[in-house]
Structure formats: C-alpha cells, structure tokens
Symmetry: C2
Subunit: 496 residues, 2 copies
Amino acid sequence: MTAAYTQLEARFKRLAVIRDSAGVLEWDLQTLMPPGGAQARTEQLATLSVMAHELLTDPRTGELLERAETDALNAWQQANLRGMTREWRHASSVPASLVEARAKANTECEFAWRKARPANDFKGLLPLLQKVLDLARETAAIKGEALGLSPYDALIDQYEPGARQAEITPLFDHLAAVLPELITEVIDKQARRPAILELSGPFPAATQMALARRMMQAVGFDFDHGRLDTSAHPFCSGVPDDIRMTTRWNETDFLPGLMGVLHETGHAMYERGLPEDWRMQPVGAALGMGLHESQSLIVEMQASRSREFITWLAPRAAEAFNGSGPAWSAENFIRIYGKVERSLIRVDADEVTYPCHIVLRYRLEQALIGGDLKLADLPGAWADGMKALVGIVPPGDKDGCLQDIHWPGGGWGYFPSYTLGAMTAAQLFDAARRARPEIPTALGRGDFVPLMGWLRENVHSKGCLLPAHELLIAATGKPLDPQIFLRHLRTRYLDS
Amino acid sequence: MTAAYTQLEARFKRLAVIRDSAGVLEWDLQTLMPPGGAQARTEQLATLSVMAHELLTDPRTGELLERAETDALNAWQQANLRGMTREWRHASSVPASLVEARAKANTECEFAWRKARPANDFKGLLPLLQKVLDLARETAAIKGEALGLSPYDALIDQYEPGARQAEITPLFDHLAAVLPELITEVIDKQARRPAILELSGPFPAATQMALARRMMQAVGFDFDHGRLDTSAHPFCSGVPDDIRMTTRWNETDFLPGLMGVLHETGHAMYERGLPEDWRMQPVGAALGMGLHESQSLIVEMQASRSREFITWLAPRAAEAFNGSGPAWSAENFIRIYGKVERSLIRVDADEVTYPCHIVLRYRLEQALIGGDLKLADLPGAWADGMKALVGIVPPGDKDGCLQDIHWPGGGWGYFPSYTLGAMTAAQLFDAARRARPEIPTALGRGDFVPLMGWLRENVHSKGCLLPAHELLIAATGKPLDPQIFLRHLRTRYLDS
C-alpha cells in the first residue's frame, strides 16, 4: 500500500492544479477576456473553488493526515505535512454552509461598497457590512476553537501562519509610540529642503512599458518565465515557472507606476525562487502574506528607493522620455520618491506613515472581532485613531473607514501582514547588506544580482521549510525587531 | 434524495469545467505563454486530464447512469442522459493502463514524426507508429466489444457519434466513383479560362487582422463574446460565451489566411449558437466533428467562396491593401479561390479533390485497423490509392503517408469526419437557400444574417438533442445525400 504521505502529495498536487488553473482563468479574466465571457468565467471559478474545497475537506484527507503522522519523513516532507495539516484544519473546521454564506455576503457587500464609497455612504453599507462582520466573527470563533487560538488570531493565521497578537501587539505598540513624532520630524526636515520639481509629460504607455521591462530585467525578472500585461488593478499571479505580472499606465505621471512595477517584481522574484523540487506542494509555496510583502518591499522600498538605485534610474528615465534639466536629476527623483506627508489614503501613503495606517486598522479589527467596538461606532473610532497616529482626520468616510476593500470583501485579519512585511523587509535587507557589503554599490549600477542571490539562498529557496519567525532568525540572527525598521527610516529620512 | 439525473448534471458540469479550464490553459499555451512555462503547463494539463477521466469513469457515475434510466425526463434531459452514457461507455470501457500507454505512445510518436516527416523517414518512424497502431487496435477492439460495434466503427464513433462504416462506405465509394473523372473535367475546363493574376504584396499582418475582423463581423462573430489572436497553428476553442479563435499571418499572401479565418469563424458561430439552457452539459455541446466541420465549410466553402460573396469581398480587400487593377477584380478572386488541381497535400487541397484524399485515408485506416494491411506496406498502398483517386503519386513519404499528424498522434477514425462534414455542408446550405431564397443576395452585400438565422434555428440551437442523421433529416428533409454535394461541385466548377 502506498504510504499515506505519498497519497497526500498526490492529493495536494491536484489541489494545486485546480488553484493554478483558477489562477490562469483569473489572470485571463483581468487582462484579456471579452466582457461577454464574465458569466461563464464566474461559474467556472466558483466550481473550481468548490472542487478545491471538497478535495481538501474530504474525510479521506483527514484520515491520511492522521496516518501520515507515523510515516518516516525527512525535514521537507515533515514541513510539507505541517502545511497540509494547517490548510486542512482551516478548511475543514468551517461548515460548508458558513463558507457559502460568507462568500455570498462578501460578494454582495463588496459590490455595494463600490457604490457606497464614492457616495460617502457608511450608513447605507452598514447592514451588509454588519453581516460580513458577523460571519467573519462566527468563522473566527469556529476556527479559533479548532486551532486552539483566539478568534482574531485564527483570522490572522489564515494569511500569516503562526503569527499571534501576543507578538504583533507589542511590535505595533512600539511603532505607534515612535512614529507620530518621527513623522513630524521628517516633515519638518523636508520643509526646509528645496522644493520638488514636477516632471512634465505626457509619458506614453509604450515608453513606460519599455522602461518598466528594463527595470524588471535589472531586478532579474526572466521574461522566458513570465509576462507583463495591463489590467485595471495591478497584480502578480501565475506559478513559479510562469509568473504573470500586470500593471496600469498613467500617461500624466509615470513615477508611481514604475515603483508599482518594481513592487510587483519583488513578489514575482519570490515566487520564481521558490524551491523547484517542491512545486505544487504546500511546502513549496510562499510562506505567508507578510513574507511575500517583505519581498516586494525589499525591491521597492529598500532597494529601488535607495539613493544608489535612484541615481542609476533617473538618467535612464530621462533618456526614455527625452527629459532634461533639474527636474530629471537624481536628487529631484530622490525627493519625489522620498516625500513624507500626512495623508488619508493607505495605498498612497509613504513608508514612514504607512505603518500608522496599519496599526489603526489592526486595533480596530481587534475591537470589532472581539466585540468591543460596534460597527456603527467605527467612523468615530477611525477619526480618533487617525488623529492620534497620522495627525489628520478624514472629512468623510470615503477617505476614512470606507477606503479599503478588505473589510467589505471579508478579508479580516489581513492588514497586519503589510507592516510585518515592511519590518521584515528592513531586517532582511539589513542582514543581506551585512552579508554582502557590495549590495549598495551593485544597486548603483542597476545590478540586483548580489541582493537577489542572498534572498534566493536565505528566503526564496526555503519555501515553507521553516515557520516565518524561524526563517527570519536563520536568515538574520534574530526575531523580528522593529528597531531595525525604525533605524532604516531615521537613516533615510533624517540623517541623509 | 436528489434524483440520480440531477446528480449526474452536477457531475458532468464539473467535467465540463475541468475541460473548459484545460481549454483556457491550452489556448494560453498556444498564444501567450512564455516558453519557460511549458513544463508546468504540461503537468497541469496532464493532471486535469486524469482528473476528468477519473470523474467520468468513477463507479459512482455508472451507478447514477443506471439509476437515472428510471427518472422522469423530458426530451432534452433524455438526450443529455444519452450523451452522458455514451461518454461514460467510451471512457470506462478502456482500462486506465491502456489510456496511459496510448497517451505515452502517441506523444512519443508525434514528437518523432515532427523530425521523421521532413527527413522523409518512414522506416525510422515505423516502430513507434506500429506501437501507436497496435494500441489503437487494442482500444478499438475493447471499445467495440463494450459498445457492440466493429473495432473501426468504435474509433469513428469517438468523433462521430452514431456514424458507421455501413453508411459511410457506400457514400465514399460513390464519391470515389465520380470524383476522379469530375476532377479531370474541371481541370480541363479551367485550363481554357484566362490565367490567374498574382496579387503582389507585401500584406502587413495588422491590415490582414483588420480585414479578417471585418469579415468575421460580417459573418456575425461577436467580439464581446470572443477574441481573435495569433498562434502557430490556427484553431478555435473556448466556450460558447467566450470563443477563442486564432490564426497566423502570411505577409506575402493574404488570401488563404483570410479563408482560414472564415473557416474558423464557421466553427465559432456553431459554438456560439449552442443551446444556452444547456451550457456545460453533454446535450449542450457540439454534435460531432462532422457537423462541426460542416459549419466551418458552410461559411468557408459554401458561402464565402460563392460568386456573390467574393464579389463583395474583392473590392474590400483591394481597399484594405490599396490594391487596384485586374488582379484585384472579383473575377480574378473567383479564379484564385476556385482553382482545382491534383495536389499531394490534403490540407492544401481544393474542395473538389479534398474528398479523394479522405477516401484514401478512410480505406487505409479500415485496412490497417482491420489487420488487412501491414504498416510496412502503407507507402505502397498510399501511392496506389493516390494514383487511382487523385491521379498523382508522391515522390516521397513526406508528401505521402507522413503528411498528417493524425496517425502518429493516435487520431485514428477522425478522417471520415472531414468529408462527412463537406457533404453535410452542401446539403444544409442547399436546404437553407431553399428555405430562405434571399441568402445568395444577402451574401452579395456581405450579409450572413439570413444564412446564420437558419443555421442557428435548425442546427446550432439543437445541440445534441437529436443524433446527427436525425438532425439532418429534420433540417433538410432527407438523410445524407452525396448527390447534393456533387451537384454543388458541378454547378460551381463546370456550369458557371
């Protein structure tokens, strides 16, 4: 008889194929699909999702997982079995009726949110959002029970395996204690430097595409194993051997889009570097959303916004768009890409204020899931939190608690990953630079090889062999340390 | 308890989703996929194929099919159940080990064929081709046993449900008795008409694409429900609400490519017109390869090569490419598109000689599957058949028995569909024109609405409600009649 573990590998390979197929269908939907294909595609995706869920929660999967505990396994296989068990626990603890009710409520609320946000209509969205929250709380309670976790920890664990409030809260409290003052210092300092010069366009999409591809190649993106296409909302999907990145082009300002491409390239490089021997198995997949985000932020925030890289980038951008004069100087690019300001919208926030947006959401999620805050009181709590953390208050909910898709879409527990990712990025980049001191100089000639080599060896190729905190210790010598992130911010924004 | 039939619908919907997903993956592979994605994609497709096979041959499917016999069903549901049963019988009769052995042997031989053909190396391919043939014969015997059919009938039935040699042989014998002399007559007649004038290029791909899209729209292709892309080998795939057509562009001669697009558009219109209430069910799918081919040939051969349509097409092609003079006249286009000649290659053959190529293959398949012809003797038999049917003999196997991918790829039993399709096309077009006498005039102004309306009503929307021969009787008043096809040929090539 085939060992239980071997049968599980076959089973999880199928699961991966269903999901990867759904990924191609989703990519196609976002990039090329004619509009009339929407209904058929929605049905295909829904059926594939049910098939994946059924395969995963099939009682046979549970039996095999139990039996495999006694199989003789090497370290990778053990980690693979841990990943399988984790996925199975998350999926099988929740009754199918609740999964379906959530999917329905989330979709309904997300659609309503698309209208409620521009209309500034929190009250109108409230009943649907309440339903989404109630079902998320129900799920959190059930999963928490099954996993031996508090409800909110169970939600976080979906995106960030092993992460717990007990570790996150002190880290975030530390950031909350330091950042508001740091933001003031940085803004004061920036007020005293020369004004930012505007770059005047237009910047044709085709030229932006060519420049973006050149930057992607500098990072190490291999177009034999991936593509760059256009979609309304940029994303990075696909499988390690065939990465599908997308972006969109703003013909009046190419600068944010270019950084967006570099950000997604970081995600792509992580996927591409995952352990080749473990394709289509849980241990061969990305370790969590925080580590994934750390890889995009290492490329975007740590490397590509470094003085060294921008000094290499600016003349190439000028060449591409026939730009000249002081606006096209590296110094001006550094000022643009390093501008810090108190702003209302998370996705537009700079790297200094961004964690404050996340800490606010984290605290509010804790209170909402824990039942300590009523949804009706969210706008007030949002304003108070923004005032304390970022120093400004939104004039309306459109730019406040209605701004993100996460809550209406049911993505409770996701937000902490962004800032865990930012701190992890700083810590990994710091370790990489100490291990390979040539990294900054290399970035100054557009060469990511030393940085990517270190990341490939210490992060990408490890897949899910180790839990995230152990991977970080193995790679950097210590657990997540917010001081490294804060030191990075002080060095970049106050010392230079 | 849910009725067995209802459970079967859910099961076959999943089967459709797996296949449709594989279709998107295959389309992507052919059009856009970066080369490095090949291995991962091959594995995804192989896994999806195994999953579909397992779902179909699952013992539970057989049980449900048996139980559903006693469910109270309407005519569409009954036809759906027939389709399910047929698919199940084909799939479940063959042991998985034989399916796997065939897949492996076919792939291996097809790869070898890609080199053997240009090298004219029949002897070198012989061992692999023998293996493919042996496994096809084994499959044919097993399926024949299970379906109560002769072995070769069982193979034909895979592509052409219900078609039997007992009906095909007399039809093909009739064509074989008439066509060789007809070909001579046509060639003699064409020798006496003015010479064909060459169109001089180049013909930029982008202009060809624009002209092709215009022709597709004339036929009725809805770009809200489909796309036209470029691939090395043109095909038409997708689902009825999202049809994916591809083509390739030859910048020195646009004429064959344009007809190729019109051919694929015929396939597309059939898929698009399949019954909307039966999406993702066997009864909602195309009826067989012959009927599918009839739909492409109605658009390409019957309608688009008609004097009326070419008279509309020629000035629009001239306008697109800035062409002028007698070479761009409708008369010259008619001569080009109607040229008949004895040629060696099936895919390049005109509509008069094409059936001779098929009759040859049909007779050889019969003999090879029946064991009356040894594979080593194929080249000789091929030469004899070509001499008798087409009137020329290939100088080498490259242009003889090695020219088609079907046999090395394991597609035994497929060839008859081409000529069944051509005869069906003539008969349906004839009936359509009698029912809607305005069709030729409409084609003369590039208007396919009357023709497509009739086809939608009498063919497309019927799905698999009726077996092919009953559909043909319902639509045209009689079974397949080769005289209608031969009359079409005489009218077009001798009378005009």
